[in-house]
Amino acid sequence: MNERVIEVENLNFSYPDKTIALRNMNFSVSRGESLAIIGPNGAGKSTLLLHLNGVLRGEGTVRVLGEKISKENLKRIREKVGMVFQDPNDQLFMPTVFDDVAFGPLNLYLEREEIEKRVDSILKELGLEGYGKKSPSHLSLGEKKKVSLATVLVLEPEILVLDEPTISLDPGTKRIFIDIYKDIKKTKLIATHDLDLVSQLCSIVVLMDKGTVIAEGACRDILRNKKLLEDHSLEVPASLALNRLKRQE
């Protein structure tokens, strides 16, 4: 059986205004898996993700690579769990692209040469060579998303967490990103309601609504369950619906 790299047990969380965001969340992720967390708006997906690197701390247990998240091991956990936020503008806050990508490694107190090597390498890998001196605020959305991804991949995390990675992207740019994510051979956790993305990238799906897990299973089984999806404000992805139509014909 594969090693469990993320284990969430009886996780409950409420915001200061008493809004209950998570109720008795239970699920786990095995090493190498690509797991999608799907659900309607307000289901608690982003709130859940923020628990995985200790930014939010609810009641219950969150274990990452066997370690229960606590104040003492936060830095270690954040090295292992790389989180790409939904809005790249929330992730890019330094004067240049180079500074933004180097922000994480600097906080790890890596050597200067190592930082420069890592930053140059990841920028090249994502097709961002020559972008180092540019200001992030002058980039297009697709470029900002790439830089956001670079800021996390440069830390060489073991687990990659993506919050709505393809939101607002045009189809061509979305295609590019899907290919990028397919090439990343790490454990991936993707929170999204883009079910076409899920059908192409993920093997396991967790359906959330109102802060709790409604269903968990193989991607194929969950995404073909029309009633289940529609009961939770989702739809069978167009790619699967088209295949079904073709089979019916």
Binding site: K75, R78, L108
Partner: protein, 243 residues
């Protein structure tokens, strides 16, 4: 959209003042500001010397005068407010008021020019790091770096709200209605900026931030820095003591 006072483009000019160690600049300008503040309002020659020192540094730094002047305009509303308070609420003889006003204006403008030259010749994060090296408490340097970064956000959110408002305004609005709309927008603006700042902070924590902004730059004092310190402080001492 960049905040008006700081311009990261200014710091790309590689003049001699840009290249000095930020700690050297911070200490030097600190002493210059102290000298200005403690100079008697009757020592007009000293104020003139301070002014020409700043002009000289501006020229050597290749900062356009109009950029400096634009930033200087920022303090005039405050100075006018203080001057008006003085005139209306202090019952001093006219000549005494004039003396106080002169003191207020000349020192404020010169100190502000000092800060403007310092900030326009030093990258902001180097400035913050320089302050940390000089043992300024981290709470202050952290506040400074966040205030700087969030001022960009504030400007962006304000622009978004302005566009949203303009899209639904059809002209010919009464001034009072405009004021009423703005009073509703301002708290909303603060709230949106606060929410966004929380998300950015979460993003910083996710990448290992522990309260100290790190940069790749390291500071090492060179001959050039020692020469500047020596020359600057000898000249300043001469102005303060001898003139």
């Amino acid at each position: 959209m960049t905040p008006f006072f700081f311009s990261e483009e200014d710091n790309s000019r590689a003049s001699f003042l840009h290249r000095f160690d930020p700690r050297v600049k911070i200490i030097s300008f600190f002493f210059l500001i102290a000298a200005i503040v403690f100079t008697s309002s009757h020592d007009h020659y000293k104020f003139l010397v301070y002014f020409f020192m700043l002009v000289f540094m501006t020229v050597l730094s290749r900062i356009p005068f109009k950029d400096l002047a634009r930033r200087l305009v920022l303090i005039f509303p405050l100075l006018i407010f203080l001057a008006a308070s003085l005139i209306f609420f202090e019952r001093n003889p006219f000549s005494e008021n004039l003396d106080i006003l002169w003191n207020l204006f000349v020192k404020s403008i010169l100190c502000f020019l000092c800060l403007a030259v310092l900030i326009l010749t030093t990258e902001f994060y180097h400035l913050v790091q320089g302050l940390e090296h000089l043992k300024v408490p981290r709470i202050i340097t952290s506040l400074l770096s966040f205030a700087y970064r969030y001022s960009f956000l504030f400007a962006q959110e304000a622009e978004r709200l302005r566009r949203a408002k303009e899209s639904r305004s059809f002209g010919n609005r009464k001034k009072l209605e405009e004021v009423s709309t703005v009073t509703h927008i301002v708290p909303h603006l603060f709230f949106k900026t606060f929410e966004r700042s929380e998300r950015i902070y979460a993003s910083m924590l996710s990448r290992g931030y522990e309260g100290k902004i790190q940069t790749l730059s390291f500071f090492r004092l060179g001959k050039r820095d020692f020469f500047f310190i020596f020359l600057f402080h000898i000249f300043l001492a001469f102005v303060v003591i001898v003139l």
